[in-house]
């Protein structure tokens, strides 16, 4: 049970990362492999605010998502807009190399083994029966899920979200209705980047900050998104939680080397038996 709680914490972080991928994918049809680097950027910004500048956590929750959102929007406008007409191959490879490039920039700027950020909510753990739950676990889980739900709400209900969904359905139609595609693309990337930034804040204390974080978050985020259904916001949420719990269970009961293997096994099974994901949003037809 304790393990499951720990797994839910990581799962909620994965959900956030996955949600960012799904939001960007739904609105712009770009599969963003740079998402891991945005999480890393968010974690590093958190370090800057909390540890280097001693501002504490509250400013971080506000500033970090904005910063990573702007970073993501800048990547979209500066690097991807010129090739938006290119095929999937070019777009995906671009995001892969943009992600690696951003991680490299981080490594060059901050050439240390690993940066740590302090626990946002220290304090004695809570006992529920035999189960020990730290306050940090509760905070991260609740905070990450709340952020994810806010993200879903913005995409699903806010006026901005209507534009994003319109563009997802039909870019030209949305443009005719007065939504600027450039603006909407940038907005989708801003939202996706902001979600990644939040994932970064929540991940920083327990996972540490290093280029490894980008790799592990992109892998986990993607596996979660695909398990849930890359087109499904709900799927990203559940996919992340399932993955987090499965990973921690495997690490606890089998071996830590099995941790990665389990996520891959999950991905493999889902792709083989249910390629549209566990929680598909809608049936898509392709002729």
């Amino acid at each position: 049970m304790m393990i499951v709680v720990g797994g839910l914490k990581f799962g909620a972080i994965y959900s956030l990362a996955a949600l960012g991928i799904v939001v960007i994918y739904k609105a712009t049809r770009i599969v963003n492999f740079a998402q891991g680097a945005f999480v890393l950027a968010g974690a590093y910004a958190t370090y800057g605010i909390v540890e280097a500048s001693h501002f504490g956590y509250w400013p971080a929750y506000v500033l970090v998502p904005i910063a990573t959102g702007l970073l993501a929007a800048a990547v979209e406008l500066g690097m991807l807009r010129p090739i938006r007409q290119a095929d999937m191959f070019a777009l995906i490879t671009s995001t892969i190399f943009i992600g690696i490039g951003l991680s490299e920039v981080y490594r060059l700027v901050q050439n240390t083994e690993m940066l740590g950020v302090r626990n946002p909510l220290p304090g004695p753990p809570i006992f529920i029966g035999d189960v020990i739950i730290t306050k940090e676990q509760i905070w991260v889980f609740v905070g990450a899920i709340m952020s994810a739900l806010i993200g879903v709400a913005i995409f699903g209900y806010a006026p901005i979200g209507r534009g994003l969904r319109a563009m997802a359905a039909n870019p030209r139609g949305a443009a005719l209705c007065g939504y600027s595609n450039d603006g909407m693309n940038a907005m989708a990337w801003f939202l996706g980047g902001a979600l990644a930034g939040l994932a970064g804040i929540f991940a920083a204390p327990s996972k540490g900050i290093s280029p490894e974080l980008a790799i592990s978050m992109i892998t986990a985020g993607f596996v979660a998104a695909v398990i849930g259904g890359i087109d499904s916001l709900r799927g990203a949420l559940f996919g992340g939680l399932i993955l987090g719990v499965a990973e921690t269970l495997a690490a606890a009961y089998v071996s830590s080397a099995m941790k990665n293997a389990v996520s891959f096994l999950l991905l493999f099974l889902v792709l083989l038996w249910r390629p549209e994901g566990l929680f598909p949003e809608a049936k898509i037809r392709d002729v």
């Binding site: 490879t93 060059l108 596996v223 293997a261 991905l267």
Partner: protein, 610 residues
């Protein structure tokens, strides 16, 4: 030997010659540079293997590191633990790589783009985990000592000897890759990467081709891993990690996606840059990333191709030449008949008898929408049959059922009486059925000639491989193919466009190229989906003349979907009108145009005064 044959064979051996030349050139440098040359030609070979998978098939693979590791460990373990001779171990490792590629591809190629990238990423991670955990066999994370290659008692421990050995082995191993990429197999890969549906309609089985591409490419990568392993003295799992995979992906992208040279140059040059730019070693990965993104943005065909184009630019003087002739030259259609004779008999054109095409009670629903609702349609042999109807009437869905892209929910399709339900889409061209597409679906990155050669439909894997080898020797069969394709191009008035890229043609000419591709196999029936949509009135008139001539001289039946009623009524003897998934009316052009139900379907409630 004819000059064509000499040229073909020289082309097939040129990459090997260059690799060998670089190896020999390295002998004039010191041992450090001999080491650099050895890893550079290794990277060149990896680049050429990725040219197939990444450049031609446009699959994103992040498993290159794993394949190298499989090669390196697959050769070293038998040498160390089983005292197998070096060359035998290299062959074993290559086969192991081929198996690994096949195993990865069978589940993997059901997906494209991001899912395929993910699956290869999974494969990469799992291979490294397994190598790290199997400590008794591989030495785990500490790595494993690799003895210098020993062949017939001769040890290749010195850098110079090793470089020569690499050069010789790579020169041999790369020949099959060159032959496949330059030949039919490579063309088919590029065709399916550029337009999957059109490729399938002409008999290219996408799954088989991608699995084969993964297998060949992985075998060569494993080979490179096996041959290069001794140079590192010690191999460990982490030097074959995910970053290796990602940065090797850059080789064909930066080098160029359109030929084996791009991969060779990309690998060979990029791998040396870190050695040349020692002071910038820290920034090298970042430089790579910037280069890749910049290349994808500004030179989608790769830096090498951009350079190539810059030095030897082909003249565009020919463009527009075919517009100069107001009438299409029809005479060569008879030549087409003669030229395709060498490739075996075409489908015999017989008038009368069983209908060439019979659709019986076909239905297809998408959710609640019945796109095609109990449609029956009969097409007489050698006839021109029109199919019209308002948008959303189900015409294209019906075409997709007939050509095999969609399985009907109910009903069946017969061709000359034979049931087609069990015949796969890719096999239907063999029965004499071809089609064109609503949105001109030419293979943009291939020349017009290659487009039409694919139209011959000899595109099963086995046949593609055999034909590739034949083309490397410019054998009689491959020359006949070229002649047939040439005459088909001449027949549609594109004789002067043979070597131009299909994507560079104006729309009207792309439509004609589609027709050339559809007739070159001398089918018995062609399905034409909106052949004149988006072309000028003049061009439409010329296309009509062309279609009439093809029908008249070759006796090929045609079913034509078209909104342009004037075009359709002047082309077809018989017209079927569809509306809301059903056949509304059938008859000759005059009857159809006068039919009040048709007017109702097109113009709504109000009767329009004629």
């Amino acid at each position: 030997m004819s000059s064509g044959r000499i040229r073909a064979i020289t082309g097939a051996l040129a990459p090997s010659a260059v690799l060998l030349a670089i190896a020999i050139l390295g002998l004039f440098f010191d041992t450090y540079w001999q080491y650099v040359f050895a890893i550079s030609i290794t990277a060149a070979v990896i680049g050429s293997a990725l040219a197939m998978l990444v450049g031609y098939a446009r699959c994103i693979t992040i498993a290159t590191g794993a394949m190298l590791a499989i090669g390196a460990y697959g050769a070293t373990i038998p040498v160390v633990h089983g005292s197998m001779p070096f060359l035998a171990a290299v062959v074993t490792a290559t086969l192991l790589g081929a198996c690994a590629g096949w195993m990865l591809a069978v589940p993997g190629v059901r997906f494209r783009s991001h899912n395929l990238a993910l699956i290869t990423l999974v494969f990469q991670a799992v291979v490294i985990i397994v190598l790290r955990e199997s400590k008794t066999l591989t030495g785990g994370a500490e790595g494993m000592h690799v003895p210098p290659p020993l062949i017939l008692g001769i040890s290749f421990a010195k850098d110079a000897d090793f470089l020569l050995l690499c050069g010789a082995l790579y020169a041999l191993a790369i020949i099959p890759m060159t032959v496949l990429l330059a030949g039919a197999f490579g063309k088919n890969l590029r065709a399916l990467a550029s337009n999957e549906n059109a490729a399938r309609a002409f008999g290219i089985d996408v799954r088989h081709h991608l699995i084969a591409a993964f297998t060949f490419s992985s075998a060569l990568i494993a080979f490179a891993g096996a041959v290069s392993a001794p140079r590192f003295r010690i191999i460990d799992p982490d030097s074959y990690g995910i970053f290796t995979s990602i940065f090797t992906l850059a080789y064909p992208i930066i080098g160029g996606m359109g030929s084996i040279w791009g991969g060779l140059a990309g690998g060979g040059i990029l791998r040396v840059i870190p050695e040349l730019l020692r002071p910038l070693a820290d920034y090298i990965e970042l430089i790579f990333c910037v280069l890749v993104v910049a290349t994808l943005t500004f030179f989608p065909d790769g830096l090498a191709s951009a350079f190539w184009m810059g030095t030897g630019r082909r003249s565009d003087a020919k463009s527009g030449a075919s517009f100069a002739t107001p009438e299409i030259e029809l005479a060569p259609i008879a030549e087409l008949f003669a030229a395709t004779e060498a490739l075996g008999p075409g489908a015999p054109a017989q008038a009368g008898g069983a209908p060439i095409l019979a659709v019986e009670g076909a239905s297809k629903s998408y959710g609640a929408l019945r796109a095609v609702d109990d449609v029956s349609l009969t097409v007489a042999p050698c006839s021109l049959h029109g199919l019209m109807g308002p948008n959303g009437a189900g015409k294209t869905t019906l075409f997709n059922i007939v050509s095999g892209f969609l399985a009907a929910d109910a009903g069946n399709v017969r061709m000359s009486g034979a049931l087609l339900d069990q015949v796969r889409l890719e096999s239907r061209i063999g029965l004499g059925m071809t089609r064109t597409f609503q949105h001109a679906a030419v293979f943009e990155r291939l020349s017009c000639l290659d487009n039409v050669i694919i139209g011959l439909g000899r595109n099963t894997i086995a046949r593609g491989l055999v034909r590739s080898v034949g083309q490397a020797f410019a054998n009689a069969d491959s020359r006949s193919e070229r002649r047939a394709a040439q005459s088909a191009l001449a027949a549609v008035g594109l004789g002067a466009r043979t070597d131009d890229l299909a994507g560079a043609l104006p729309l009207g000419e792309q439509r004609r190229l589609e027709i050339a591709r559809a007739i070159v196999s001398r089918p018995r029936i062609i399905l034409l989906d909106e052949p004149v949509s988006g072309v000028s009135v003049e061009e439409a008139r010329r296309l009509r003349e062309l279609l009439l001539a093809i029908n008249g001289e070759l006796g090929i039946a045609m079913v034509v979907i078209e909104h342009n009623i004037a075009f359709l009524s002047s082309l077809c003897q018989w017209i079927s009108v569809m509306s809301q998934g059903r056949i509304l009316a059938e008859g000759d052009a005059a009857t159809i145009i006068a039919d009040p139900r048709v007017r109702h379907a097109y113009f709504g409630e109000q009767e329009v005064a004629a």
